[in-house]
Amino acid sequence: MSERYDRNLALPGFGAAGQARLAGARVLVVGAGGLGSAILHYLAAAGVGTIGIVEGDTVSESNLQRQVLYTTNDLGRPKAEVARARLLALNPEICVEIAGARLDDNTAPALVGGYDLVVDATDNIPARLALNAACTAAGKPWVHGAVSEYTGQVTTFVPGGPCYCCLYRSPRPQALPPRGILGPVPGAIGAIQATEAIKYLTGLGELLVGRLLVMDFLPARCAVFNYGKDPACSVCGSGQQSGPAS
């Protein structure tokens, strides 16, 4: 008998039922960069049955400092293809789909519609706004993550709860130049996102709904900020036809 999931099965509250839930789940990961590398690896390793990847970039040398799915031999190759091969080598028992190259306002509804859960591994705010609008309209949960320099954050959005725009009321699309990022930071944040995804799929623990977990790795400190559903939210607030019932 396979030992692959022994450590999952031995967990309190997990068991065969939890593993079966993972096996039957379809999860879309939007982005296969720093966050995505960790998210994809841990979801595949855990046995999520179907993983979709949205990624249109090719592997470049500066990626290798933190995007742990790729090697020097992959330079110039499409990230989605490399990621798919790497995940299937890790776990041949799952299905890995290249769902698309780009998530934006036009492509988001069709992309999220085919999955149970979406995990945000994007690197820009317009994509997150598109993801938020599509997930809110479709009633899909999603796990947000973001990083910059030595800092990262995670929160989870579920139907009926606050959305990304309840937190970021007027997000600026990309007003500031890109900053540096310490390699392990997206790895750590991505691992937390994968944990949230597994918790959602298995029903275990408490999700980061209405809670923004912020981690500052330089002083090694973390904090949780509580936030609520904004009745005036332009995406999910009362009176919006596109959101879930408030």
Binding site: G31, G33, G145, A146, S148, Y168, P171
Partner: protein, 79 residues
């Protein structure tokens, strides 16, 4: 009057000694706004993406009151 300010993520770097999870207690004049506090702390206004006062979204022109808890977040977008 005194207000408590929580800075998050990359905004902490603008205020020496500021630590995630620990509020800065500062004295401000009556009638001071959120914008006044942001300027006083030396945080670039364009880097503040979320302003919360006592857990509610407010804008930079919001007038603060004694004991208010102000939370300031940047826009973190990398992945």
């Amino acid at each position: 009057m005194r207000v408590g300010v929580h800075l998050f993520a990359t905004l902490l770097a603008y205020v020496p000694g500021a630590r995630l999870g620990e509020p800065l207690i500062i004295e401000v004049d009556a009638g001071a706004t959120v914008a006044d506090v942001i300027a006083r702390l030396g945080v670039p206004a364009e880097e503040v993406a979320i302003i919360m006062v006592n857990g509610l979204h407010r804008d930079a022109e919001h007038v603060l009151a004694e004991g208010d808890r102000l939370a300031l977040f940047p826009s973190i977008a990398g992945g």
